[in-house]
Subunit: 329 residues, 2 copies
Amino acid sequence: MTNTTIYDVAGAAKVSLATVSRVMNNPEKVNPETREKVLKVIKELGYHPNAIARGLASRKSTTVGVVMADVSRAATAALLGGITDIAKKYDYAIKLFTMDPEEDIKENMRKIVAEQVDGILLLNDELELDDMGMVIDLIQDAQIPLVLCNTIYNEKDVPTVAIDYTKATYDITKKLLEEGKREIYFASTYHKYSINAFKAEGYKNAMIEAGHEPLLIKTSGDVSQNSVQFKEFLKDNKIEALISVRDSIAVSFINVATENGYKVPDDIKVVGLQNTKYALLSRPQLTCVDTPVYDIGAVSMRLLTKYMTHKEVSDDKVFLPYRIVERQS
Amino acid sequence: MTNTTIYDVAGAAKVSLATVSRVMNNPEKVNPETREKVLKVIKELGYHPNAIARGLASRKSTTVGVVMADVSRAATAALLGGITDIAKKYDYAIKLFTMDPEEDIKENMRKIVAEQVDGILLLNDELELDDMGMVIDLIQDAQIPLVLCNTIYNEKDVPTVAIDYTKATYDITKKLLEEGKREIYFASTYHKYSINAFKAEGYKNAMIEAGHEPLLIKTSGDVSQNSVQFKEFLKDNKIEALISVRDSIAVSFINVATENGYKVPDDIKVVGLQNTKYALLSRPQLTCVDTPVYDIGAVSMRLLTKYMTHKEVSDDKVFLPYRIVERQS
DNA sequence: CTGAAAGCGCTTACAG
DNA sequence: CTGAAAGCGCTTACAG
């Protein structure tokens, strides 16, 4: 029972292995009676074709590679939720690859290419621009279908599924400006994410358009670190609103502000750019731009299946809608 | 450049493909000069062996299957962090498999087995006991090394890496009892997780030992649902402490209690059993039993590599230490 | 230490 | 509609 092969099935069904293979891959080319007979044996023996052998012979692994910087971030996990759901639906397996910043990116990508995946979903938005370019080149040179998932790279023409983060952040900044706020700060992370650069751009555009100087803070994702920083920051600066790339950073700021005598939202309005569970558990609850991360994962995987099966694609850049969720902050 | 094969390398290095193969797999069996020559060509051509062909020929895929219920939960993501880090170190690729409750578990497992992974890490703690038994049987019948990762199943002898959740919860309950609390509730989820049953057991043991009736609440992980429930609950019940299987549920309870005039921790003490970022962002900050999820992932992967390479294993059940993190709740 | 050859378990033209 | 045979890109005894 450990290893039922196609030969076992062929023998038991008294047909050739070619016929068994056809029953599995091109059933319409097989006489219905023969087909039923073979299917019955397949079921009886609990036969499943060896995916590796099939992969070698057909040169299709029905596996997609998901390349990311860090699995453990909540946003990544949500993306993976959408990706795996759709992958399963289309019968693709998922191989996970991480890219550590210390390692040789080129070597790592070559290894990934050697894994013979049918397509790649690139979630890594922590790469420098030229590294990103190199990674994309390597994948495209190997002729592997590629979709950028929640990652934006404008230097090349690459299929992409994301949010128009620039516009989303522009909108929310504009809204705060219209409410009369002036000292609006934008909190980003020390660590570079390509997406955050686009968010910052939208913020800057709105501020400059309104004739104000953009006010940027960089901070850590670590709560104990950023709370110390925020405390210092509040001593020295006038601030009427804060927009944060991450909800958890926004919540940390709310806590520090409240503890230092500020009222949120009366003294300082605070907005997050994700809409995670943190937003609901914060007090006051966090107003957010909602970014549908699960959907980004699902749509990008669906787009990739189209490329892998050489289907016609009408639009290779998909920007999903977002909305503002008004809460109490 | 799309496809450099072992033949290309052999041709360029003027040796047979067997020698190239040996250079990659048993370099000590090759004359140093020949080896250098081949290695040089390999580098020049950017050759990486086709992982699929290698897998078929060697019957080792150097891939491990990670079987889980839901990728998007924070705890799962943290486990995956530990798993991928160690997998990378030992040069294993990761294939991700999810098990939806609606689908045929047996069929699904057969498919996973057909994927020819060298080992399986089972993270799914949402299965009923007998389904779990069947899954384990299928994997073991196929002779695939298996480690349960943050999942506990005592009906069979299976290698396991986890926390002794029963003891951890027993300890924290005892501590609350020693502080004079009597009406200590235990909040679990409607949804079944094998691990939560062990946590509940530890709680019950401590309560019964102290001569108190165990007080259990089941709730939803959804914030808007559990807050409604908690509000009702507080109207009708006397409560001095709450222990929650999930931090986010504990934080939600703190919010509802505070909004309804209770003081945490003076009126009601609250404890979480995970120690996630939620605990730090809550006000008051949440006291927790800290469960080192990343480490569980890492250690289970390391244990699995031992089984896959037929190394001696001194202990096939590893229960990692936990500690109590005192905060303000 | 090295090469020729068989084989891993499939798929896929090619005949018939 | 079905079977015999080549081939996918490797590994691994087996000779030498």
